[in-house]
Symmetry: C2
Subunit: 308 residues, 2 copies
């Protein structure tokens, strides 16, 4: 019998933890926690790994702002650069973990560039709302050639965050998984492109990596969809005295809680939505858990599971 | 019968031509020339595409120099970023070209991260000689934490250029080619790593992309190895009145010309060496040609062929 397919979507804290500036040494060291667990799980599951790229793309944007001597690159290209960077870091960390377990010869792995189609008419393009990159003063913000918004720290560039329509490389990823490859893909939610006749062109946007991962999971036929983040799972009234951790939550309950605004919009909200979407479209198990408890969560003893 | 395997190693001018500053628009437009030809060739050959990254990695190095607010990344990570960037640009251009020919549904394609093992004891590490990145004044160069060298334009950082020992992803690439995938890989000569016990670690070095491509060609069992560059092929006394273009050159002749210093060391020399190495290790055809004449060269009517 073929092994089940497990997709692990790694949050930003898999690479950079709170309070760190994000040196390469820190990022490699942090990666060992989730990747060591994933290496072990690869004995029992066919594995896909996706990942975020917020701080890394932020750094590239900041560098562009500093440096007039180099032609500025559009956001799609910076996302591609972070897919290269993080894909290599995950792949080489995983390679070492598989060698440590003595199973690297059975486990071919690839890290591949992924682009994701979004709809040109997605309403998100009418009201860019996702803050990215460095913080500017109000004076500087007024001179920038793109929309900005006031956030807690100051003014930041905002871009559209459209819904993923389809992963361009879904067929390739499905073939690779069938052949037993571990596949690292859809970094940063994928490079956003729109279809223009017989070609794709990149757009200035950012796709939520959990929603892109859910779309990939659906298109590839993943069995278990696991979102690894910086908290142990889903809680109601997170961070308040009445906080209540949920071990299981049904689709109906989750929809009600979302509507009542019980999950923070920028963080847990999209994760719960992504898990719900996966379960609605026929997935077997959707789990939200912490980066330290990936193995336990797969075995059923940690995290929050969204059930039918 | 299985189609022959063709590896095309694209030079830097596939993306940025002489006199251009290298905007994204320029790079995408330039790519259409070689990629359109490769798309057509993919009907008759299984295809691997490799590429250089000199100007792109130079721009990332320059940005790092400008910007103190972001932690500097080591060269291996910058190479990974350029693999992401250029891999995406080649893949999406090829996707469009295949759609234009109406053959994209038969031609799955992937662009993957590649790292290449070099020997820790490679003599190149004792005498770093490959100039990379921006030009500095003599005063500035004296303050930099890495070796620099005086070049025509000023002082530049120099790194080692060790020989490629093996492509880590060779098995994966062979599988993908067997399945009919077009594979884009080994960007910038690959991310250089050394083996340390049961892991690889990245090193500050740059691998010649033609030598890395020749190594990949040998390890994957490529039939035709084509190096696409900015001149129509190999000439003796290049750029001088007695310049003599070579349509064919035998291994023996090529070795003699190399020894006599008839090919420029930084440019045509390594290409001829790479082509020779491929032919010595059992390759069928090795061709050096211009970016505009890839199809003609494969059909035998352009470029310089290194023969046994």
């Amino acid at each position: 019998m073929k092994k089940e397919i497990l997709l692990v979507a790694l949050g930003g804290n898999a690479l950079i933890r709170k309070g760190q500036i994000g040196t390469v040494e820190e990022q490699f060291a942090n990666l060992r926690t989730p990747i060591g667990q994933i290496a072990k799980l690869s004995r029992d599951y066919r594995v896909i790994i996706t990942h975020g790229n917020g701080p890394q793309v932020g750094n590239l944007l900041l560098q562009q702002e500093c440096c007039d001597a180099v032609p500025s690159l559009p956001l799609e290209i910076l996302v591609a650069q972070t897919q290269g960077q993080i894909g290599y870091m995950i792949e080489s960390t995983l390679d070492a973990a598989l060698m440590g377990l003595g199973i690297h010869t059975e486990q071919p792995l690839v890290s591949l560039m992924s682009y994701v189609v979004v709809a040109e008419k997605d309403p998100a393009f009418l009201a860019p709302s996702k803050p990215i990159g460095p913080v500017f003063s109000e004076e500087k913000a007024a001179t920038l050639p793109y929309p900005t918004r006031k956030t807690g720290e100051g003014y930041r560039r905002v871009v559209a965050s459209p819904k993923p329509v389809t992963i361009v490389e879904k067929r390739e990823i499905r073939n690779l998984i069938d052949m037993g490859f571990i596949v690292i893909c859809c970094g940063g939610g994928g490079i956003p492109v729109i279809r223009e006749g017989r070609a794709f062109s990149g757009v200035d946007a950012v796709i939520d990596k959990d929603l892109a991962s859910a779309k990939l999971a659906e298109e590839v036929g993943v069995d278990i969809f696991l979102i690894a983040t910086d908290v142990k799972g889903v809680a109601l009234h997170y961070g308040r005295p009445e906080e209540a951790f949920l071990r299981k939550v049904s689709l109906d309950q989750a929809a009600r809680y979302l509507k009542e605004g019980l999950f923070p919009a920028g963080s847990m909200g999209p994760k719960v939505e992504a898990a719900m979407q996966f379960m609605k479209r026929g997935g077997k198990r959707a789990i939200i858990t912490s980066i330290d408890a990936i193995e336990e969560a797969v075995s059923g003893s940690a995290g929050t599971e969204v059930i039918r």
